[in-house]
Amino acid sequence: MGNLAVKDITKSYGDHNILHGVNFTVNDGEFVSILGPSGSGKSTLFHLIGGIRLPDSGEIFLEDKQINGQKGSISYTPQSPSLMPWRTVLKNVLLGGEIVGKHDEKRALALIERAGLQGYENAYPHELSGGMKQRVAFVRSLLSPQPLICLDEPFSALDEFTRLEMQKWLMSIWQENKRSILFVTHNIDEAIFLSDRVIVLSQKPATVKREFTIPFERPRHESILLTEEFLDWKKAIYRELSEDV
């Protein structure tokens, strides 16, 4: 369940070669981050996996089925929380299931409570803070029936303190639910802290430069952020990223 394989994906828009032979996998229940300089085609990658664009060549497999151009196979959360302003928190969270005709209000309420949003079920998005909106968006992803969750820089708009809180919250929720997550970020600390594996992309046209398997045990505590080992990983990844520039 939930294993993704991206094989030799190439995509260009006109003369712009965006992705060039990208290969990687996400195993079942794994947390994988994609790290790359901005403008390295991370969003394009999501559009391809999400099926709203077709790759020029290459194949994408989810649970061993080819999903090139097939919409509805992943649960995607864009950079902005993208909640519908006219829906309450509860209705927003139920949207993913609603599209495929499923309705599980009990589980939705339970997850809203787990996200620390009890009492806000009937609030509208404009009444929530940035961090709360992100939590709602993530609960929506968890409730969606798709096996793979794709998060596109979900915490980039948050301040440093909220961000750490959200990262810890995301990890604890993920550990309870064990869904496969593909996480795009340009923050090295965030990638190391959260992921089982970090995939480093190169500048345009993007290819996979290197993969790092992060060995920290779970559950992870924020204190590892200051350890020597963490810093070594950060240096290694930083070197890999800066070689391009």
Partner: protein, 254 residues
Amino acid sequence: MKKFMKKGWKPVAVILLLFIIWEVTSKLFEIPGWLLPAPSQILQTGVEGWASYQHHIFSTVQLTIIGFIIGCSVGILIAISLHLVPQLREALYPLIIISQNIPIIVLAPLLVIWFGFGMLPKIIVITLVCFFPIAVSALDGFRQTDHDLKHYMQMAGANKKQIFWKLEWPNALPYVFAGLKISATYSVMGAVISEWLGANKGIGVYMTLASSSFRTDRVFVSIFLVMVLSLLFFAIIILLEKSLIKWKPKGEGN
């Protein structure tokens, strides 16, 4: 109500002041009633003549409501079909704009020649003035849909119908109401114009009868009736909007 008292006193004060100036000058310069009646005289005619014109009001209100509903439905249907079929939009959008350049005053008598003195030509006139603001603003609303939300819906596997009803329609609703407000005030004017053409009842009829017999006070009564009706329709639309769109942050758009 308190809020209205706080905000509403300024325009009320201005209107009162204008009436006072009007009253005083018409008394001072002894302007004859058939040229420009004083507000007090208009008020008197309005009160005394109630029995003679109230059936006209009822008829105009009825015509306005029917015309407004048909006009708005046409506007929304046009917006939806132009939005869902882009080729249609390219082909018809210029035509819709041209339709607004036809002088209604010229077209109206023709409509009577074609369709007689019944309801139909009147409804066509009101529809012509009503559909445009709604169609244009609804189309705008459909197109202003957030790209991230649309990508989200597409990747979640939503079909075209779901994207329209769950995303584009609710997104366009505030825009539709902006159009409805304009159309609501236009529709009263449209109804009066259509009654000029040939009707046996209506504020338009009362107005033409009054002006051809130099009863300027009655002309003003009918002008004020049109204003009050327009404001009334406008207020109804605002009430509807407030009860339907509760998700807007407070203080926005007020």
